[in-house]
């Protein structure tokens, strides 16, 4: 197990490096045009452009540019020229909100997907299964920002059942915090519930016919024990790793749409606003940190998965 962990961590570091290079390439090399102009945001002055050019090293070779860019990002020296704000600081401020959104949605979708997936598997072929499958398919087909916007409009603005967007920090008022997050959690979960419940249903249907389930019954275990201890547990294992990946993806930037629609002022919304302004430095930083986070989380998930399924430790 220790060797497995070591292998994974070493691999992770290599990937993180590659990500930093790739992000750098995306923003500073691949696109056409003057990089300084891109970074400077809207309406820069000649003097600003010159400063940017020297600070970022655009007049120097590529590896120097890379070095300077990374230096700026990691030493907190990255400033958005459009808003004059320190990018890293903004990100740090916004992280708790994004985290609260992501973790709440992740738990919600996992619980609901498990219940839904198991139920539709047990009732496979019957009307309730077909009906819920259709619902799941509709859930997958709806863009999260559209659903969120409509929920916010009807439930928040028009009928005033829920607050009309906005965020209340947990430390200030837990009840309000949850109250404000219920709609965003639901909107974000809908897509994942659809996907995960179907995968779980498929896994359960496969597992139910597996021989070891028959053995479990032959041992005299009750149907409930068979379902929970053997079927569900084995069906969930592959999903755990997917869940980790998706949670990472949501946290790493997938929440961008939900945050924007509900005005939660998280990292995602910061990115969205920067995009709207074509303000590059924040987008660069967020992209990189987002990817970093995902890779780290993937590695953690890999390690947890290996702890759960011993066959994986051989890879």
């Amino acid at each position: 197990m220790a060797r497995f962990v070591l292998r994974r961590v070493v691999g992770m570091v290599a990937v993180l490096f590659a990500i930093s290079v790739f992000t750098f390439l995306i923003f500073n090399v691949i696109p056409n045009g003057d990089p300084a102009l891109r970074i400077a945001g809207r309406h820069p002055t000649r003097g600003q452009l010159e400063t940017i050019r020297s600070q970022w090293g655009f007049d120097k070779p590529i590896y120097v540019q890379y070095g300077k860019t990374m230096e700026k990002v990691f030493t907190g020296d990255l400033v958005s020229y459009s808003t004059q704000l320190d990018v890293d600081q903004e990100i740090i401020n916004d992280i708790p909100r994004t985290f609260c959104l992501a973790i709440g949605a992740a738990i919600m979708w996992m619980v609901l997907a498990t219940v839904l997936g198991l139920y539709t598997a047990v009732k496979a072929g019957k009307f309730s299964d077909r009906f819920l499958t259709v619902l799941a398919l509709i859930g997958i087909s709806m863009p999260v920002f559209w659903v969120g916007a409509l929920m916010n409009y009807y439930l928040g603005f028009k009928w005033k059942i829920f607050p009309n967007g906005g965020y209340v920090p947990l430390t200030r008022d837990p009840a309000q915090w949850a109250y404000h997050l219920i709609l965003p959690w639901t909107a974000l979960s809908l897509l994942f519930i659809g996907v995960y419940s179907r995968i779980l249903r498929s896994n359960v249907l496969d597992t139910i016919n597996d021989d070891y389930v028959r053995t479990a019954r032959a041992k005299g275990l009750s149907e409930r024990q068979v379902m929970l201890r053997h079927v569900l547990r084995n069906s969930l294992i592959p999903i755990i790793s997917l869940w980790g990946l998706d949670f990472g993806a949501v946290l790493g930037g997938g929440a961008i749409l939900t945050e924007t629609v509900f005005d939660l002022q998280g990292v995602g919304q910061y990115a969205a606003e920067s995009i709207g302004q074509l303000d590059v430095p924040p987008v660069l930083a967020i992209t990189m940190f987002g990817a970093f986070f995902i890779v780290v989380l993937n590695t953690v998930v890999d390690i947890i998965y290996a702890a759960l399924d011993p066959r994986i430790r051989l890879t």
Partner: protein
């Protein structure tokens, strides 16, 4: 029995019976014919497939609608116009900025947006853009995935390591973030690869971005399949006959991938359409004033208080299209391999 879709009733009986029943089936139908037969029996999938075609057809007919029914075009704003509905004269856009809702008439069938533009017209033209980008991106993804997947899986070794690591790299980024990053970066100056130059506001940019972002999700399963296929006896036989790698890839490996590709395509198109909508919504995809379902939803959400139809209409169209593709794609997958474990990795 072994060929029924997984959602039909599950037969629980000893394995011997499946063997018995299989022996009873008339042999002689090729896998594609069998799949077609299964698909034809799936009325739901066929209905939704037809729905998609209807929607696509409507969008293709956009100019006809614009010119002959609505008497408008996607960019013309009728801010100061009035229209007669049910005998009463109504402002297209009221002085307080509230646009007219659906009139269910030829003009402004689905209402107008805050700029006084005919939503139905924009919807159809926007559909052309969204569908073009969606289908174009999906096909590009398929092409790139097959190329990379086959090359990596067949040659293995260093080539495989290079391709796989690159795919992993792309895959590490959350889909939206990467799309947004690329969209923002390429928005101003466009893309220049050697002699080829693409403008920042060309539709090719979103197509390319979406294609690249989704390649790992399709290339990895394909690579996995190729790894397994290359060990099969018929590949060995071809090699023994003296066939070179290119020939083997085309005549032995590619045909066996075709069912995987066919299963992936509808789902890919659906995801591409959704991603385009998300990117355009954020402003990193199709640029205004060009209509696409994403930009329309974006505008609609922004001005939702003036009229929910602004957001509801394009959104519904989008949902219907994507749903149609998802249900049809599900049916295709069940028809080709009822026990398929190949899912689009999310």
């Amino acid at each position: 029995m072994a060929t029924e879709p997984a959602t039909e009733f599950t037969f629980e009986g000893p394995v011997a019976f499946e063997e018995e029943a299989k022996r009873e089936r008339v042999a002689g139908l090729g896998p594609w014919a069998l799949a077609l037969r299964r698909l034809r029996r799936n009325k739901t999938a066929l209905a939704f497939g037809a729905l998609f075609l209807v929607i696509a057809g409507l969008c293709l007919a956009a100019p006809y609608w614009a010119n002959h029914v609505a008497h408008s075009d996607p960019y013309k704003n009728h801010l100061t116009d009035t229209v007669t509905v049910g005998g009463k004269k109504k402002d297209v856009v009221k002085p307080n900025g509230v646009p007219i809702g659906p009139t269910w008439r030829g003009r402004f069938l689905l209402g107008a947006d805050s700029n006084g533009r005919d939503i139905a017209v924009r919807l159809l033209y926007g559909g052309r853009t969204s569908l073009l980008i969606g289908v174009g991106a999906a096909l590009s993804t398929a092409l790139l995935s097959v190329v990379f997947g086959v090359v990596a899986g067949y040659f293995r070794g260093f080539t495989d390591a290079l391709v796989s690591r690159s795919l992993d790299l792309i895959w590490s980024f959350p889909v939206i973030l990467l799309g947004v990053a690329l969209g923002t970066a390429l928005a101003l100056g466009g893309l220049k690869i050697g002699p080829i130059e693409i403008q920042g506001d060309s539709k090719l940019i979103p197509i390319l971005i979406i294609a690249v972002v989704y390649v790992p999700y399709m290339a990895r399963p394909i690579r996995g399949q190729v790894l397994a296929l290359r060990e099969k006896e018929f590949v060995e036989a071809a090699r023994a006959q003296g066939a070179g790698p290119l020939r083997i890839m085309f005549t032995e490996i590619l045909p066996n991938l075709s069912s995987t590709i066919v299963v992936f395509l509808p789902l890919m198109i659906a995801n591409a359409i959704l991603l385009e909508a998300a990117l355009s919504f954020l402003g990193a995809g199709v640029r205004p004033p060009n209509p696409s379902w994403g930009t329309m939803i974006g505008d609609g959400v922004e001005k939702i208080v003036t009229g929910p139809h602004l957001a509801v209409v394009p959104g519904l169209m989008l949902v219907l299209t994507v749903l149609a593709l998802n249900v049809f794609g599900d049916g295709v997958r069940d028809a080709l391999d009822p026990r398929a474990k190949l899912h689009l990795e999310h």
